[in-house]
């Protein structure tokens, strides 16, 4: 289950980055790997199937790139729905952005991650936040695979803390904005999946963090 969640977080992170032919091909390959796992066991399975359908019939990468700029690219100053935490949380935008970015970067450092030199992300953007959660799911999966339930529960608690502190607080507002801005197509299906998945994962992480093995 943790491996599936890791794959889905990574998939959503990649899908929110600027599209290119290589990235679209990578997403299709990743989707096939996710399909091999038991997605139907989870309530977000219908949203995943919806996204899979649009992924197979994607227009060429240039058309997708234009839609990506229109919806997400906050640096243009006219993006409809910037995928950036500080855009949605807090009324004093500049102060909120600084606080939010510092807080998120601290979380990355705490888990041994840092941005690669020359990266173009804002620290509190969706893609790196999703990547961090993918990383934490990977750590949890490794703990489960070696039978260390206590470490798995601790990592689930860290996922929960990050979701409660960051992604799960603003992602539903962002997703509602995307739904209003685009009625169909890949990005609509993507936020349907990601919103359902993030909400689901917050509850799941809470449950996993509280799990205790029977004696």
């Amino acid at each position: 289950m943790a491996r599936l969640r890791q794959g889905l977080y990574r998939f959503c992170a990649g899908a929110l980055l600027p599209p290119s032919p290589a990235r679209v091909a990578a997403l299709r390959a990743a989707a096939q790997l996710i399909d091999e796992q038991d997605v139907d066991a989870f309530a977000f399975a219908p949203a995943w199937r919806g996204l899979r359908a649009t992924l197979e019939t994607l227009p060429h990468a240039e058309a997708l790139a234009a839609e990506h700029v229109r919806l997400f690219q906050a640096t243009s100053g006219r993006a409809l729905c910037p995928p950036v935490e500080s855009f949605y949380l807090g009324s004093a935008r500049h102060a909120a952005a600084a606080t939010s970015a510092m807080s998120v970067e601290a979380a990355y450092r705490r888990h041994g991650l840092r941005f690669a030199p020359g990266q173009a992300y804002l620290a509190d953007e969706a893609a790196p936040q999703l990547e961090l959660l993918a990383h934490l799911c990977g750590v949890e999966a490794a703990a489960r695979e070696r039978g260390d339930a206590a470490a798995a529960a601790r990592t689930a608690a860290e996922q929960l803390a990050f979701l409660d502190g960051h992604l799960a607080r603003w992602f539903p507002i962002f997703a509602a904005g995307v739904r209003a801005a685009t009625k169909h197509g890949f990005y609509r299906a993507l936020v349907e999946l990601a919103d359902a998945f993030v909400g689901h994962d917050r509850e799941l992480a809470a449950g996993l963090a509280a799990e205790r093995l029977p004696a």
Partner: protein
């Protein structure tokens, strides 16, 4: 709509229950993967299985795999049927009726839960969550904008939060008990797996005299979380997320649909896992007082197994399980029992009576604006305002009381009371008074009593302020004279809150 009915073949179901469209799968509990072949393109799924013998998560996954809404899967506990083919046929018919009345869910309704039995194997390896259907608020029906926060006060898990004119719901905090669903006076909170429409469809099927003719039937509400079976002859189960959600109206309404007797079975022996026993016991207490007052105490059983009296002829009742169904059900019970409705004061009364003190009320209309059901109404015609009360629409939700600005003066009070006189009278005028109209647009400024109170409180030193407030409505007061709206004729408009 295509509903697939699949019954586990272990033990073999009686032949009489195997009607057209019913598939038997041997040992279904152990092989839920076999659902796929049997379901064959169905929109809805009804499964008959043994309690505790299956993994709900796996069944839901199988449903999803075949494009079936997992929260709409109906599970029949085969233990309820015992060895009686007639009982199983009735239970299957009720499951199909519920499945047909299911209108679908979305991801926001799926509340993650974990299997009750967690083993090392499924924790480390193939742990799969299962899902319970959680409530959602229909924003277009929610009365939070008018100040209603009934759900906030009712939720035992504090999953609802008042956020200034709207209510926020925390699904993670929710432990779906359904109390909010039956508390919401506006009918704005729904749980797709337990809607009034589903309950009514299920009850009509359970009580259909064409199945097992001549059998007097009892309906027993019980908690869906337990494994308890209801197999006593003549008694049929209605499983709910928690018995605390069953109101007195829900409990007694089946008597009007053809049930000879009803019962509510709180988890008293084992204790309610959500700690809500007190609510269920209070409902039982009220229902007991009511049926005793009507002289039909035998209609409320303490446990299935008690003899079921002959049912009444069904009494048509409009929306008996809806948010304002209480008065209609009480009227139906009175008719069926050929008795006089007793006057009862009780915290679980499904109806209430609002008392207005004419000497303290200023006709400001705040109570009417807050009333989610329209029991209190303020109407303005020409130069008069009238506050009226219709007891049949009052659910006793109490949202009007804290909104009253003259609460300390005792202007309003609520009695959670069955009052035969008030219910029989219909809508009555509570208070009538003059209305001052705007000198600019002709719209209502405020009621005379309210302006009198305001003048007294402002005192003579603020006479000019009072003059400005009392001569123009809020819209015209804000506008420069050059932009005032043309005079208009308004009738039956609400007084804008000051």
């Amino acid at each position: 709509m295509n509903v697939a009915v699949i019954l586990c073949g272990r033990p073999a179901p009686p032949a009489a229950a195997i009607g057209p469209g019913v598939t038997i799968v041997p040992d279904l509990c152990a092989h839920p993967g076999d659902i796929a072949e049997a379901a064959g393109g169905a929109d809805r799924l009804v499964l008959g299985m043994c309690a505790g013998e299956y993994s709900l998560g796996r069944i839901q996954a199988e449903a999803r795999r075949h494009g079936i809404d997992a929260l709409g899967v109906e599970l029949i506990q085969l233990e309820d049927a015992g060895a009686d083919p007639g009982r199983l046929a009735v239970l299957v018919a009720a499951g199909v009726a519920r499945a047909r009345a299911f209108t679908g869910s979305d991801p926001g309704h799926a509340k993650v839960a974990f299997p009750r039995e967690v083993s090392r194997r499924n924790l480390v390896g193939a742990l799969r969550p299962e899902y319970r259907s959680a409530p959602r608020i229909a924003a277009d029906l929610c009365a939070a904008g008018a100040g209603c926060r009934a759900c906030v006060g009712a939720c035992p898990r504090h999953a609802y939060r008042w956020a200034g004119g709207r209510v926020e719901f925390d699904r993670a905090a929710c432990e779906p008990c359904g109390v909010c669903v039956t508390t919401c006076p506006a009918g704005a909170i729904t749980n797709p797996a337990m809607t009034p429409a589903q309950l009514e469809a299920q009850l009509w099927a359970l009580l259909d005299p064409r199945t097992a003719p001549g059998e007097a039937r009892g309906i027993a509400y019980l908690c869906a979380r337990g494994d308890r079976a209801v197999s006593a002859s003549g008694w049929y189960p209605v499983r709910v997320p928690c018995t605390a959600m069953v109101t007195a109206t829900w409990l007694l309404a089946p008597l009007l649909l053809g049930a000879g007797s009803v019962a509510l079975l709180p988890c008293a022996a084992s204790g309610c896992p959500l700690g809500l026993d007190d609510i269920s016991l209070a409902t039982l207490d009220f229902a007991g007082e009511l049926v005793r007052g009507l002289g039909v105490a035998g209609r409320l059983a303490t446990a299935p197994g008690e003899p079921v009296p002959e049912p009444w002829t069904p009494v048509p009742v409009d929306d008996p399980f809806g948010p304002v169904g209480g008065a209609a059900v009480l009227a139906g019970l009175t008719t069926a029992a050929a008795a006089t409705l007793p006057t009862l004061d009780h915290e679980r009364s499904p109806v209430g009576v609002v008392a207005i003190d004419p000497s303290a009320c200023t006709l400001c209309g705040a109570c009417a604006a807050a009333c989610p059901t329209g029991a209190l109404e303020l109407t303005i015609e020409d130069v008069a305002a009238e506050l009226s009360f219709g007891a049949a629409r009052c659910t006793g939700c109490g949202q009007c009381v804290p909104r009253c600005p003259e609460l300390r003066a005792g202007a309003i009070g609520l009695h959670r009371r069955v009052d035969a006189g008030a219910l029989a009278t219909g809508r009555t005028s509570v208070l009538r008074g003059p209305v001052v109209r705007c000198a600019s647009c002709g719209g209502p400024v405020a009621s005379g009593p309210l302006l009198d109170l305001l003048r007294d409180r402002l005192g003579p030193q603020h006479r000019a302020t009072f003059g400005a407030i009392s001569s123009r409505c809020t819209s015209c007061r804000r506008l420069p004279a050059s932009q005032e709206p043309a005079a208009r004729s308004t009738s039956r408009a609400a007084i804008p809150p000051e």
